[in-house]
Symmetry: C2
Subunit: 311 residues, 2 copies
């Protein structure tokens, strides 16, 4: 089967019809109609087999996750999802694999209202690059550079679940909800939109809290102190995470895809009311640079604000 | 060196500053300001080492070509280049390779006024996916579905040079201008803009004339007859292409990155005057479906309108 037949069969009509897609898959470019008086938010993320997901991951989960990690960036910007392109590199054109991959991709694309508008299919080691586009009203994007001393540092949902699932991957009895946190991250799109006008800075947690928060600190020219006792954990995490690994998993584990948000103390209550997911205060922004943590004993330690190193 | 240092060192400030880039590399998303009353043209293309360029290709040429093939899609749509993202997968973080790659990318980005606004760097087999965005006034995009019986079929520049260079790659004395046609394709951006309002259909030639023209025929519901004697060849091609391979190289060789354009006969002269590159009539659109060629002896043969098969 040739490239064009592949694309047509599995990806044409994959995603919701949008009136702003003037020309979708099948020409040199997609033609899209941006909304008047909006800014365009654009992100690209690549997933490589064995690095960003276990090689044995189900094709539908790979399709979901490839889109989810990009939607998570739109969420962290406070942008509404609009369109995406898919660059798919495959070792073989396996119809079953493609059908599964397209099904997972379709499920999340439909749920979030984003349309597949183009891309490329090549033969090569399994790798997926998605470029996602969203829109945001002028001046309302959630950036990394607005955190101020005195702001609260908060996170949505729970931390460390995906990293724990990866650690326990080959062990029997891994609870499906925990595994799902690794395979099917839920981009916090509604939360991102609800935080517009409240958050001073935000990003999504992909490489681990310490390193990702470090990006906010660097961009905003501030520091932070976080309380390790306040980090939110799921019941599965509490039941299964080895005591010695808990802090490391929550602080440096990747693939959380929760939002890390800074906001003034007086905005916390409204933010919590607006969100469809728990928002937990875990620390404070400080004028003093660097990242520090307060541990169980109440003592303060400096933390290396570095995340997953891709090289 | 970590991913972020890599990106900062080689890609930050790589491309021309544009006032419509509100936030570039370094946040969850880039923030861009689309022009009022314009449509957005978006394309994604992947280059994989050993498939889309010879493994020994100079890093600067790889950087150039990765952007050029995407700009060629914008050109074929009649869109003005605006912004692009870069997803780069590298086996090792080699500073010399990155410097060369960035230099080639910068050269073409600067020449075409397109800004690098984001992307992703991962460790993996060498692969580059660029997503390029451009803008076009409403209703003026050059699509594939507007060709009508009686239209002329034309191509810019010359055909078969890149395919010949690839064929002769390991032979001594390959003329640098011919090699350059393989390594440094020139996207026909000015030609694409100049053809707005004149062409009824257009696309760029990446997989070979026969297959690519086949896409116009399928999308427009027409056929075509092309005259093999009229296919434009460079002097290097004429001097070096084996007689037995000439037609195959020009008809089915990939990587031309010329535009194939359909237009009414009365528009040809103005199109030729407007373009900064030769535009040669090679055939006609017919109501009769299928692709046919007229050979040196004047006899007509059916042609398989299929290009390079990626699987």
């Amino acid at each position: 089967m040739d490239e064009f037949a592949l694309i047509r069969r599995h990806f044409a009509g994959l995603s919701p019809a949008r009136a702003d897609v003037l020309l979708g898959i099948g020409d040199d470019c997609a033609l899209l109609q941006p909304s008047p008086d909006r800014q365009l938010a654009v992100t690209s993320d690549t997933l490589i087999s064995g690095r960003h997901f276990p090689e044995a991951t189900a094709p539908a989960d790979i399709g979901w996750k490839a889109l989810a990690v990009n939607l998570s960036d739109l969420a962290a910007m406070g942008a509404e999802p609009r369109w995406f392109t898919l660059a798919l590199s495959l070792p073989v054109a396996d119809a079953d694999w493609l059908a599964g991959f397209a099904a997972g991709l379709r499920e999340l694309a439909t749920a979030s209202g984003i349309a597949l508008v183009g891309g490329d299919t090549t033969r090569g080691p399994l790798s997926i690059t998605i470029t996602a586009m969203g829109e945001v009203p002028p001046g309302q994007a959630l950036r990394r550079d607005g955190a101020r001393a005195g702001d609260l540092v908060c996170v949505t949902g729970t931390l460390g679940d995906a990293a724990l699932a990866l650690k326990l991957l080959d062990q029997p009895g891994l609870p499906p909800p925990l595994r799902r946190r690794l395979d099917r991250p839920e981009p916090r799109l509604k939360a991102g939109l609800a935080l517009r006008g409240l958050a001073t800075a935000a990003l999504d947690l992909s490489d681990g809290l310490a390193g990702d928060l470090g990006h906010i600190l660097a961009a905003s020219g501030v520091g932070a102190e976080i309380d390790l006792r306040a980090l939110p954990a799921s019941s599965h995490f509490n039941g299964l995470a080895p005591a010695a690994d808990r802090t490391e998993l929550m602080l440096r584990g990747g693939d959380d895809y929760e939002l890390c948000v800074c906001l003034p103390p007086e905005a916390l209550e409204e933010a919590q009311q607006r969100l469809d997911v728990p928002l937990t205060q875990i620390g404070r922004i400080t004028a003093q640079p660097g990242l520090r943590s307060v541990d169980v004993s109440g003592s303060t330690q400096p933390q290396d604000a570095c995340g997953y190193r891709h090289f």
